[in-house]
Symmetry: C2
Subunit: 300 residues, 2 copies
């Protein structure tokens, strides 16, 4: 994984220039979109991301601020002659919503859209380098979080060394996986001499919209980056619970309990013009917290 770019950080309705939820996850090999509020296709274009590179879209739940921009994005990609398959993961009813809107417009997408309904917890996508799993979160309607885990990275080849031992290119993959090299004369060259240690695999957890729920700790434990919603400031914890949302403090408490490396908070209520107090409150509990700011690319 390389980075997550925030395309929308607001809840419910757009306000104060903040858009509804969408995030762009950049991995070494492909791009994922997580949630897709109204206007996401414009945000993608504004921040010079390429929707042609998307391979998977993950929709956490069917509140409009998390998916009303999806149908526009899907049809625009078709109008722009996308050919590559696209995988869409979301609650089962999403398929009907999309199909109905395509049918009334007599539209057939140019590309193949594979719909994968979210039905049970566990692995939902398995690419060469990333495993994505979904987990249930507690919200007012059926809602899912997503956990993105890099697979174990290969060791990195030292170009000078492989050159000096005249190791054939065909053996590189075995080298990356840790094998020693045996020369034609039977001499063993140890892998440690030819490669360096792989960087540790990274992980990102997206907790969608959720009430404060410590039962999530086990699932998100130790991730490199945790996104947790913080719809309200701490004084409104009762309102947050009533609406199955969390506060700044609660998001930070989850990060602390789960011993994550870094926390991003977002999904701010439209009642707040300034979001700075969210950071102040969260940092009281968990220092390594960032605000989800639109257009910012968070590397991890």
């Amino acid at each position: 994984m390389q980075s997550v770019t925030i395309l929308g950080n607001n809840s419910a309705i757009p306000a104060f220039g903040r858009n509804p939820t969408a995030q762009w996850l950049q991995t070494q090999e492909e791009c994922f979109l997580i949630d897709c509020g109204e206007g996401t296709q414009l945000q993608i274009s504004k921040y010079k991301l390429k929707h042609s590179k998307l391979t998977h879209i993950f929709i956490s739940h069917l509140h409009g601020d998390h998916y009303f921009g999806l149908i526009g994005l899907l049809t625009s990609m078709s109008l722009l002659n996308r050919a590559k398959d696209l995988h869409l993961h979301g609650p089962a009813a999403l398929k009907e919503i999309i199909q109905l809107q395509l049918d009334v417009a007599q539209t057939k997408l140019n590309y193949t859209l594979h719909f994968h309904p979210l039905e049970k917890e566990g692995t939902i996508a398995n690419t060469k380098k990333i495993e994505v799993s979904c987990f249930k979160v507690k919200h007012s309607i059926d809602c899912w979080g997503f956990l993105f885990k890099e697979k174990k990275n290969n060791r990195s080849i030292l170009p000078e060394k492989v050159k000096s031992y005249e190791i054939p290119v065909t053996f590189y993959e075995q080298l990356q996986q840790g094998e020693d090299f045996v020369t034609s004369k039977g001499t063993i060259v140890s892998n440690e001499e030819l490669t360096t240690l792989a960087s540790p695999p990274k992980s990102y957890a997206y907790c969608a919209d959720t009430i404060y729920d410590e039962s999530l700790v086990e699932t998100i434990k130790g991730v490199d980056l945790l996104y947790h919603e913080a719809t309200y400031l701490k004084d409104l914890h009762e309102k947050a619970a009533d609406r199955f949302h969390s506060t700044s403090i609660q998001a930070a408490s989850m990060a602390k309990l789960a011993k994550v490396n870094q926390l991003i908070i977002g999904h701010f209520s439209s009642k707040y013009e300034s979001i700075d107090p969210f950071l102040d409150e969260a940092k009281e509990i968990f220092e390594n917290t960032l605000l989800a700011i639109e257009g910012v690319c968070y590397k991890f």
Copy 2:
């Protein structure tokens, strides 16, 4: 009628800062929205219009660039505690699309939404001062144009005159409708002495997405302002016909044939970065042409 404000002037996909179709019609007594592409709620907010003042929304057809912003606007108005009834006119399937999206979110709108399916040509709304009718246009799917006609305006009372004759307020409505006043002594004061001629009633025709179709001339004849789509420049007239759209020249020819006062052209294809050539071409045929420019309020 007072003015129409363009909220979106592009076709199919957003491009070059241009948004999909939406128009805001301001009348003396209320506000109407015509079509509602993705992002319309943001455009309404950007141009400081008040969606709380909307009484009717008219959706011409179910291509996404004309309605993908509707569900977001409807739900945002509810989140913002709209109480006033809203009338929505559109193709019958629109009701199912909206209801499905409200159902999956377990959302009930705060206000009453009256859905009026467009089924046959004729009057669809009749307010105190405006009559709205719909008419079929020829597009690749079921598509409707809208004609907004002010009712005959009342005569304007001359304040100094009614004061000098001591005419009771209760008689003002009759005065506005042209009646003479009879004093308690039986003297007749002619209406012409007490009022001035009403301004002539205005009319606006919105032709939605349509192939060039002279059979529309009778319907839109003599309107004060005609909106006609011009998706392509004149050299692409074959492409326009293939896709059931019109060119700059064709829009202008309709304005000329229908002897309208003024023409606005819009729904520009995303292939054009500059839209100035549309104006040059249209003016060759019909001088009193304007480009639909986002955020501009066209008074008429």
